[in-house]
Structures are given as structure tokens and as C-alpha cells.
Symmetry: D2
């Protein structure tokens, strides 16, 4: 299939490579010419603009930092909608707010195109391995239409509901994540202050009702889980500023439906404090710094 | 071994039965004569007072609602310390604050006795099946001393650290639990308001980074997990008022070491609101009532 | 002076009337033709569009619900910037976020115009009486330039700092307001539950260190302050949804500078809960409903 | 009148002096013999124990750090109840929880004595000047009985309701205080980050709806109010650990009546963080350190 891929960042680049490996013909676009060059070496064709990439494509995929970028890539003079043929689906794998998704879907519909939200989880590792989870919003028909393309990049394709539901599901998962991580940080630090060995406490939580990914896989206390960012100085992993972005999306989505998110709003302030102290690039489990007496992390 | 068991409530009674089954000679005391009668039928002897029960015992076990009860049972004129022989260990399996544990241990030490905190997790089911987890605080020697007795009631004995560390570990686990449950309630309700099917959302969270016991085993949204209290009207399970008690203990323990518990304090207010509306007896996952638009649960 | 006034809502209409009373020549625009008609009867001229209103004006004033409206009124084909002469100042008295203000000021500068943010406090009463407070952002020169016009509508003109600082100051004040109101609601409800007479408690707070406008002028407990919305069923006053909007602006402004707003974020969730229960049109002091045992307010 | 005064700390000592000045015959007790010596020089008699002080007294006053001290002073073998004559009122001006007050009142009633809670506001300045506010709990008759004694120490005597209502009122006021101070700290720091001059922002808040004692009298931003602790390095004033104690009492009182205190619980965590970082002795307005980017205060 002839596919246009726009946005070759940390996630987009390996996703695009998996499309090539699956035998698709790929035209790529990114402002970063180095990223484009690497994909061209791998067999892709370079486009001069989103419009150029979309022209003649049978599917268009976007993977961008925020809703404003998606809007620009779609609607600019040299944007996707200026080049795309009627009936060609647009898959957006960026993480953005559901309200923007609905607006973009309406714009696409005016041009005779389907716009499907398909944000991912699984990180850069999953992107490289082709084992991403795609959370897809759109009609059942649209989901079936994009399934073959997505299956080259991920192995868990979930149809979450109508347009925007993919983003909604991802936001809700990351809302839980942001809360549980800060909650585990709180409890591990309290345990430390009470004189309990962190490994023992981690072991108890992980075999009891407090069990969660933030404790058993990604524990924020150094040394409890050897493979977690906390055990390598909070480097790598999922940055605090990215968690802040996602909790901001959750807050905005909640506001749009007048839904309270008490713990989410408070967790957001905790990560904001971390970022405000200059640690926004550290893994989000560095939130434990706020709790430990010496600010250690 | 000759064991005194004081406190035959929902947890204490089945724990005492398992000691009988393991062949121990048991003397029991409770203000509830019916509970005492049932144990006597099962082979225990009834004592007239905690002092009477402790006299001649080789181990004393207490399982009581709160620290004030433990204090009374220990120090009253007809209390345990008035009857116990020097060198006999006292095991307290109540859930109380670490500071009280330390005070009781000091009192016991004055009388020549070791006081071990050994709160449990596993609920009434685990108590009946003899599969409780015991979180034990005390010296390594004390832990070894009480291990044979505890192993008749539980299959997971964890030495958490010095006196009080058992309570500390339980409190920290339940702090995480109280936070994650409210967090999952928040996210599931947001998902509902955004139009996402709760079962689909539950499925995504449970295979992603939001994964936790509060979602994959005890999800607060009705119908997501068929065996959870939420699927039977929030009956049975772990009552909101019990969660309130445990978050209160966490708050007190945190205060004693000047340790902030932001999310725990907020979660406590959420459960307090549930209780204040008259739903304190419902399972603690009923906290989702605060979030769903129609107050449904 | 020849003034264009765009936006004749509850606040804008009485403000425009005071400009007429001060002898200014006024051209007005609003989508609501009835509102325009009332002003024309009072001596204003009706414009066919913002562009039309701005053409020939010596000062342009906008008073609109949100940043999106300001953007449209400025930049639409028939917008202000299409008609305004170079050097004419634009005064925006809407309550919007500082980042948007800066964007609009940049747009205006490209056209050779100064854009001054000048949000108000004082409510519809102050608007009618001409006693508003204007919080002004811009250069000292711009402040001096718009002072004569503003003084016809308000009696307290404060130069808060550079472009956006007027909005920033208003947002910060309303952040305090949203927090103190919920805090007073919390304390008055606790006092009620403890059996203290609300009028006695109000009296103590108002003569002690808890003293604040939310208690001594606008107490949320019915009957404590006879002139407050709480004493007339939470009607009139400042709607919960407007408070929600302002706390949302505070949250956005805080996010833009990575500044934590713990209490503001939590207060926002409390008002969001009120709104989510269908009471968004009630005065924001109705937040006390969340606290009182019977949900009374 | 013959009065016994127990507890000669920073508040108690000047209160006792004012009783002497008013011509009362005073017998005093404190563990600190230096404090006792100073009062004896001023004309008081020293007692060997609370029992000794209470023997023959017509009124007994206690001013102690916490409920545990009051309990000991009342019930010890050489305590007040061992010496006091029937019918003599006991006035407790300590700040403690309403539940303890009720327990002490019941104990006193068994001995034929009235126990009146009468916590104060006004600080050491008000104690020295005899201008304290007394918040009194008890029957109307008991209030009239203690009024002449209290009027020698304060000029604002408020009957708040039945036994415990005086403590309840003080707790509710300080709950508002703890919240508004943190709220003002949040807003002033946000304003600073947005580039608004703190004095200008303080001026706007103090003449607008955000007006409160925490802003117009005790503003936490240095230099806004010259006489506030913030303008002298957060020394003097009302210590963070004392605010923590009072918010703890508010939380306990709220728990006892199942009343949520969302903002109070969050504010408590903020002050706890300050204390946890080693700044518990600083004035409570130092909570602004948590918000300002450089941790400055």
C-alpha cells in the first residue's frame, strides 16, 4: 500500500520503519531533514511538504507533538488536505485532546476523508519492536479499514469507540498512571521515614492490594526495581514534562465534560513542582524527590 | 503450644480456629460470649479475663479494633500484663499506629515480654483459609520466635523491620490502595463521560501502565470485573469506614515523622464525603459515586 | 472622543452608557441587536461590523466572553484590524489569558496599534455606577493614553505592568477568591457539624485572622450576611461557571510558567463538581452544598 | 477572687499577670520554676502541685500545650480534681480538640465542677495587653460565671455554644487562616512568575474580592506589608508547627463528625512539607517557599 507518514520523531521514525519492513511504499515528511534522510536510506521517499506526501497516498499517518502541529499539517496551504484524494483515511497517532480530534474529523469529512485517532502506548521500545498498543477512535468500518496498516506497527489494536475515544482512553490510562506513580512515591517515602526497608516494602505492596505497574515495574524508589529509571538516576523513561502534558490533556477533557478529577489535578501540581524546580526532563518517577526528606531521588 | 487468643471478631475467630486445627491448646477471651461459645465448641477453653487467658500461656495473641482496645486489654487490672509469665511473646495482629506499637512494646519490655506487631492482609477469606500475609515488626530473633505460631494462620510471613515496621508496611500498602482506587474511579468516570465503553477502558488500563489491583481485580465501575463488589451493589468487601480508618492511621503516622501525604490526605476527604453521605458501610470502591454524573454507583 | 465599543453584554452595556454620559461619541457593535438598539436609544451609533465600528474611531474597546471571541473580532475579514487607523489604541476589558493577550498585542503592533489589557472587577453594580477597578497591562505611555477613557467607566485604575499583567493580576485575585470561598464553606460547614451557631462563627471569623471578603461580605452560609447570594438561594452574584472559567485561566497561566497552584487546582475540582451536578448557574458560594450533610445550601 | 493558674508559658504568663493587675489573688503552678519565680515576684503564690494550687481556689485556669497535658493536670494523683472544691469552675484556655473537652467536662461534672473551654486568639501581644478574644464553650450560666475572670485578660468574650464550641470556633477560624495563607502564597507566587510587581498585586487583592487578613495584614511575600513576618525573614509570628497542630485538630474534629475538609487537608500537607524541610519554626507564611521558583522566602 502507498502510505504517507508525517512526523519522524522518537516514536514516528521506528513506526515508519516497520511499515517499510511490512512491504508498504512509504513517502515521508518532517522538518528535520536528518530524520528524513535516515528513512530514505531505509527505502522511503522524501516529500517536499505534507501536501506532496499526501498526494497519491492510500493512507496518511501523522505522529506529531501536539494538536497545533496536527492542525497546521492538515490545514496549511501545503498541508495534507490540499493533496489527499477523497476516501483516503487519515490516521493520527499523536496524543492530543478529544475535542481537537472531533474538530479535525469534521474538517476531514468536509474533504471526503475519514479521520481516525489512534494514539499509542508502549514507548520507543514498543515502536521499534512493532508491539505498540493502538487505541483507536472512529466507526467500526473505519477501524477495519485502518487495521491492516496499524498491524504492521503494533500487536494490540483496540477499538475504543467513536471519534476521539482513542484519545480519551489513552488520557484515562495516563491519568491513572500519573496518580498511581505519585501515590507510590508518597507511600515509599513514608515507609522510608518510618524506617522500613524499601525493598521489603516494595515486595509487600507488589504482592498485596497496592500492587500496580508504578510499583512492580517502575518503582520510583532507587534500587527496588533494577530496570526502572529510578535505579539509573531517573534518566530515560517517560519525562515529567510529558506526564504534565498528558495530565493537562486529562484536565482539559474533564473540563469539557464538567467532570471532576481531584487526584489528577493534585498530581498535576506535584509534577508541575518538579518541572518548576528544573527537573522536567527527568523521568516522571522523580516526583518522589518532593517527598524524600533530603530531596534525594 | 499453649496459646491465649484475645479478640474473636470477623478476623480473629477464623484465625483462632486455624490455631486449633494446627493442634495448639487455645484459651480465648472476648466480650462477645457468643463468639467465645463458638470457639469453645471447636475445642478452645474460655477465659474469664485477658489476665486469666494470659496466665500460663506460652504465646499471647490480640486481634482488636483499635489501639485503645489493645491498651486496655494489656494494662487493665485484669489485663494481659497482670497474668503473663516473663519471656512469653505477645503478638498483636490488630491494625494500629506504629507509635502505639512502640509504647506497648516498651510496656511489655518492662514486664519482661516481647511485643511483636503482626497486622495481616488477606481479608476474612484469607483468615478462614489460613493464607493470610503477616507483616511483622520486631527483632529478627522475635520474628523467628513467633514464626511457628503465625504459620498456622498465614502462608506469607514477612519480617518488615523493627518494632512498628509491620504496622508501617500495612499502612503504606493501604495508602497506595486508597489512592489507586479513587484514581481508578476518577478515570473510569471520566471515560464514561467521554463516551468510552467502561469494559473497553478497563481492558486498556489493565494491559497498560495504569494497571493495578484496584482496576484489574476490584474495578469500581459496575460490570467491568464480575467478582468485584461494584458488580453486586458495593456490598461485602472492605468498607469505606475501614479505609477511612487506615488512611487516618497513615495520616497520623505521616504527621509523626513530618512526612507529607498529599494524595492520601485528599483521598481521605473523598472517602470521608462518601461516609458523610451515609454510605460508610458500602465497599470503599463506592467512592466512584462522587464522580459519576448521576451519583450512580 | 470618538470611541468604538464592541460587546454589549451584562458588563459591556452599562460601561458603554457611562462613556456616553461622559460626552464621548460612541459607535457600538454586538450580535445581539436588542442590546445594540438599547444603546442607540441612549445616543450611540450602530455599526454593521467590528471593522465598521473601528473605522474612524480614536479608541476601540472590546468586552467579550473569551479569547476566541476577541481573536475573531480582531482578525476576521470584517474585524477591527481591517478598519482601525494606525496609532489608535485597542483596549480589551474581557477576562482572558495573558498568553492570548501577548499574541493579540503582537498582531496589533504589526498593524501599528497598541493593545492594552484592562480587565475589570466590581461586577455589574460597579459597571453601572462607573466605579469599576481596571487592572491595566501595557507600557506606562499606553496606560496614560487610555486613562481618560477608562476613567469614565471606573474610579480605580491600576497599572499592573507590561502587556498581559492586567489579566495576570485579575487572575491572581480570582484565584485567591475561589480558594477563600471554598475554604470558608469548608469551615462554616465544619462549624455547623460541630454544633456551633453559624452567625456566631461568622462573627468570630470576621473579627479574627480568618477574616476575608468571602466571609465578611459574601459568606456562603445562608443568613450570616443578609445581602449575600447565600441568603437568597444562591441567585444573582457571580456564577459557578464563571468562577470555573477564571480558575481555568489561572491553571493555564500557571502551566505556562510551570508554577504550581495546589489549592487553586483543588478548588477548581470542587466548583467543577457543583457544575457537574447541574448547579453551574448558581452563585459560586453554592460550593458549600458539597460540604453540608444534607446537601442543603 | 482566689484563682489558681496552671501553665505559665508564652501565653499563660502574661495572662496570669493581668489577673494580678486586676486585683485577684493568684496561686500558680508550672514545671518551669523560673516562670513560677517571675510570677511570684509579681505577687503570685507558688503551689507545689496542681492539686495544691486548686485547693481553696474559687476558679481554676489551665493554659497548656495539648490535651494530654490537660488530662494529666486534671487527673493525676496530685492533680486539680484531687484538690478542687465542689462548684468551682475550671477554665481551660489551651487549644485542644472538642472531643477531649467533652471528656474532661464529664470528668469534672463527676466531681461536681463545671469545665469551660475558652481558647484565645490575639497572640502574645494580646495576652500582654489584656486584649485577647476568648471563644467560650459551655452553658449560658457557666459563661456568665467565668466572664468576670476572663474580662481581666481579654476584651472580646464570645459565647460560642455548648461545651467544646469554643474550641470548635477557634479550630474553624484557624482552618480558614491556614487555607487563605497558602492560597495567597500561591497567588502572589503566580503573580511574580507572570512578572507582576508584588506590591501592585498585593494592592489589587487588598482592595478587591481576594481581600483577607493573610493578604492585607500578614502578606507572605516579603516587602508587601512591612510589619509582617515575611518582611523580617519569617521570624516571630505564628510558627508553621503551630499551624500544623491546629490543622491537625481541624482534621481530627472533622473526622469525628465525618465532615470533609478538602482544602484544609491539602493545606496541612503543604505546611507539613515546610516542616519536613526543617522550617517548622519559621512563621507559617513561609509556606510561600514551596511556590517561589528559587525556594526563596
Amino acid at each position: 500500500m502507498k502510505i504517507a507518514f508525517i512526523g519522524l520523531g522518537n516514536m514516528g521514525a521506528p513506526m515508519a520503519r516497520n511499515l517499510l519492513k511490512a512491504g508498504h511504499a512509504l513517502t515521508v515528511f518532517d522538518l528535520n531533514t536528518q530524520a528524513v534522510g535516515a528513512l530514505v536510506e531505509a527505502g522511503a521517499m522524501a516529500a517536499a511538504s505534507p501536501k506532496d506526501a499526501a498526494t497519491g497516498a492510500e493512507t496518511v499517518i501523522t505522529m506529531l507533538p501536539a494538536a497545533a502541529h496536527v492542525r497546521h499539517v492538515l490545514t496549511a496551504e501545503d498541508g495534507v488536505l490540499a493533496g489527499i484524494a477523497k476516501g483516503v483515511p487519515i490516521i493520527d497517532s499523536s496524543t492530543i485532546d478529544p475535542a481537537s480530534v472531533k474538530a479535525f474529523a469534521a474538517l476531514a469529512a468536509e474533504h471526503g476523508n475519514t479521520f481516525v485517532d489512534a494514539p499509542v502506548s508502549g514507548g520507543t521500545g514498543g515502536a521499534a519492536a512493532g508491539t505498540l498498543t493502538f487505541m483507536v477512535g472512529g466507526t467500526a468500518q473505519a477501524f477495519e479499514q485502518v487495521r491492516p496498516v496499524l498491524s504492521a506497527m503494533g500487536n494490540n489494536l483496540v477499538h475504543c469507540g467513536d471519534t476521539g475515544a482513542g484519545q480519551g482512553a489513552k488520557i484515562c490510562n495516563n491519568l491513572v498512571l500519573g496518580i498511581t506513580m505519585a501515590g507510590v512515591a508518597e507511600a515509599m517515602s513514608l515507609g522510608e521515614a518510618l524506617g522500613i526497608d524499601p525493598k521489603v516494602l516494595g515486595g509487600i505492596i507488589n504482592t498485596s492490594t497496592g500492587r500496580c505497574w508504578s510499583s512492580d515495574t517502575y518503582n520510583p524508589f532507587p534500587g527496588v526495581i533494577e530496570t526502572a529509571p529510578s535505579s539509573r538516576g531517573y534518566t530515560g523513561g517517560f519525562g515529567t514534562d510529558l506526564m504534565l502534558k498528558d495530565l493537562g490533556l486529562a484536565g482539559d477533557a474533564a473540563k469539557s465534560v464538567r467532570q471532576p478529577v481531584y487526584l489528577g489535578a493534585l498530581a498535576q501540581q506535584l509534577y508541575q513542582t518538579v518541572s518548576s524546580k528544573g527537573d522536567g526532563k527527568l523521568d516522571f518517577s522523580a516526583v518522589i524527590k518532593l517527598y524524600r526528606k533530603d530531596g534525594a531521588a
